[in-house]
């Protein structure tokens, strides 16, 4: 837990959410292995990281609400519903594929 290495992961946005992320669906990221308090990086930290460093759209509230992912946005950790993985407390592992899918956009 002492290393400063970054965790390589891929992050994907779909269901209309990519609009908030410069219309780019897939990102390969190096996430700092520890969060602000030195705890292992979890999904909550990833979400903050995305908001601060990746998202250029000012409408942060369309992605984050009350400190967590906005209701109506599904999070899949290696294809599994994040609710099966501990939600935002899930500690990000090397090579993880984390996907955010909006259900809010109509057709």
């Amino acid at each position: 837990m002492q290393n400063d290495e970054a965790v390589p992961i891929t992050v994907e946005f779909s269901g209309g959410l990519e609009i908030l992320f410069s219309n780019q669906k897939k990102y390969s990221l190096s996430l700092p292995s520890q969060d602000e308090s030195g705890a292992p990086a979890n999904v909550a930290f990833l979400v903050r990281h995305l908001c601060e460093n990746v998202m250029k759209d000012p409408r942060k509230e369309l992605f984050i609400l009350d400190g967590t992912v906005r209701p109506g946005i599904l999070v899949l950790i290696n294809e599994a519903d994040w609710e099966l993985e501990g939600e935002d407390q899930y500690e990000v592992q090397k090579g993880d594929h984390i996907m955010f899918v909006s259900t809010l956009h109509g057709g």
Binding site: S14, L62, P71, G72, L74, L76, A80, D81, S102, G107
Partner: protein, 443 residues
């Protein structure tokens, strides 16, 4: 957390947590269960009959794409014997609908279904881009919604299809239930909770474009599971918000639904079921008569507010009908709803009342016989006639679409100086003239 195995096959890793019962399923089992549940919905409600030609209202979005995929699968798996085709409405919104229609075209190829695209311009002489240029962005969803509902019926009629299915899901229905509760709109609450809405079978002209049955096979399917189904089956769908109603979900009943789901996922289906139960108490409703008179519940063109994803916001035209609705609601509460509640305790469930309209006199919820001076039918706005201008089924002399069109066409000449409109003015004016003629004739 160690990965949990699938609750059904016990072999594969669970990837899905079902919102309705918290069961953990693997991808394969989830897809099977999702399809099977829709099959049960179809069978339990007798939505289809063998040999029926069905038009799937296809927008290219997740719901209609999943609907088309599931119906194709089930039609083959259970040998429904259905002839499935796709019907798309082109509202004429550049950068939105033209893109989503490309998705529908791909879907048509992928599913081997015939596709018909019908445009607002062709039907009404106005694209939504032109409507917005005229009325502005506020309230334009009302036009779009009114036009679209008629357009689906007209398209179906052209294709000689008697049944249109739409991709409305449980979240949509729950949202509508909440919206109609908040508005106090009982007749609409009743109509929108029905899985089937149909125009009167006794329609004067059997080939009329109003005699179309509508149903929502995904009524009990969670939006979350629809998105997961599309994801895990790699379905090709389009997901960009309409440019004229961006962020329609903010601060809406939709957001409330999603927040409820976060706290307690079963809340969505609970709201849907509650809506159905409340609908039974609405006089003259489909549910109120125990489904016996379902064939006579008209799907009026004013079924819902704006567009599916934008219902949460108030749309401009709404206020027009509020007064009439209030009257109906008053009648409803005076003559039926209150009576129903007070007597229900002694007599068992509302469903039973529906079957015994000869029973306790106050229980005219059943609606059909109407022993009192005023029948509950009267309280309901479903006194259907025909639009004097276009012949479309309408509770008013002139249907909503024609009223909106008249307004648009009246205002149009003001803009005729603008170069951009020159070309269109020809057609618009001729339509206007036609409308004038018709209205004179009608009067």
């Amino acid at each position: 957390m160690p990965p949990s195995p699938c609750a059904l096959c016990k072999v594969n890793r669970a990837l899905i947590l079902r919102p309705k019962d918290h069961s953990k399923l693997c991808k394969t089992c989830f897809i099977t269960v999702f399809e099977t549940e829709i099959h049960h919905t179809i069978i339990a409600n007798a939505l289809f009959h063998r040999g029926e030609k069905i038009a799937i209202g296809a927008s290219g979005g997740k719901d209609s794409t999943v609907l088309a995929s599931v119906l194709k699968t089930l039609n083959e798996r259970y040998d429904y014997g259905l002839d499935l085709i796709l019907l798309s409405i082109d509202e004429g919104i550049k950068g939105y609908r033209d893109d989503s229609l490309e998705t529908v075209k791909r879907n048509a190829e992928q599913y081997g279904m015939e596709l018909t695209i019908l445009g607002y311009e062709e039907l009404y002489g106005w694209t939504m881009d032109q409507v917005v240029a005229q009325v502005g962005k506020k309230g334009n969803c009302t036009y779009c919604g009114v036009f679209r509902r008629q357009a689906l019926d007209r398209g179906a009629s052209r294709l000689e299809v008697k049944h249109v299915v739409t991709g409305h899901n449980a979240d949509d229905v729950a949202e509508t239930v909440l919206m109609n509760l908040l508005r106090g709109d009982l007749p609409r609450l009743s109509r929108t909770t029905s899985i089937i809405t149909s125009t009167p079978s006794a329609s004067a002209n059997p080939s009329s474009n109003t005699n179309i049955k509508r149903s929502k096979p995904l009524k009990y399917a969670y939006e979350k599971e629809i998105v997961l189904y599309a994801h895990h089956k790699n379905l090709d769908y389009f997901s960009t918000e309409c440019i004229y109603s961006p962020e329609a979900f903010r601060g809406s009943a939709r957001a409330l639904i999603k927040n409820l789901e976060r706290v307690r996922p079963s809340a969505i289906l609970d709201v849907v079921r509650s809506g159905e139960d409340m609908a039974k108490l609405v006089p003259g409703s489909d549910e109120g008569c125990g489904g016996v008179c379902s064939s006579s519940v008209p799907a009026a063109e004013e079924e819902e507010g704006g567009c599916g994803s934008a219902q949460g916001r108030s749309s401009g035209g709404e206020m027009a009908s509020v007064e009439a609705q209030l009257r109906q609601n008053d009648a409803a509460s005076e003559h039926n709803l209150e009576t129903e509640i007070t007597t229900a305790g002694g007599n068992g469930s509302g469903k039973q009342h529906g079957r015994h309209d000869s029973g306790a006199a106050p229980l005219s919820t059943a609606g059909k016989k109407g022993k009192k001076g005023f029948t509950p039918r009267k309280a309901n706005k479903q006194v259907m006639g025909r639009c004097k201008k276009c012949g479309y089924l309408s509770s008013q002399d002139v249907c909503k679409a024609c009223v909106l069109l008249e307004g648009l066409n009246k205002a149009r000449p003001k803009n005729s100086i603008e170069v951009a409109y020159e070309v269109q003015d020809v057609s618009v004016n001729s339509i206007k003239d036609e409308l004038k003629k018709t209205s004179i004739g009608a009067d």
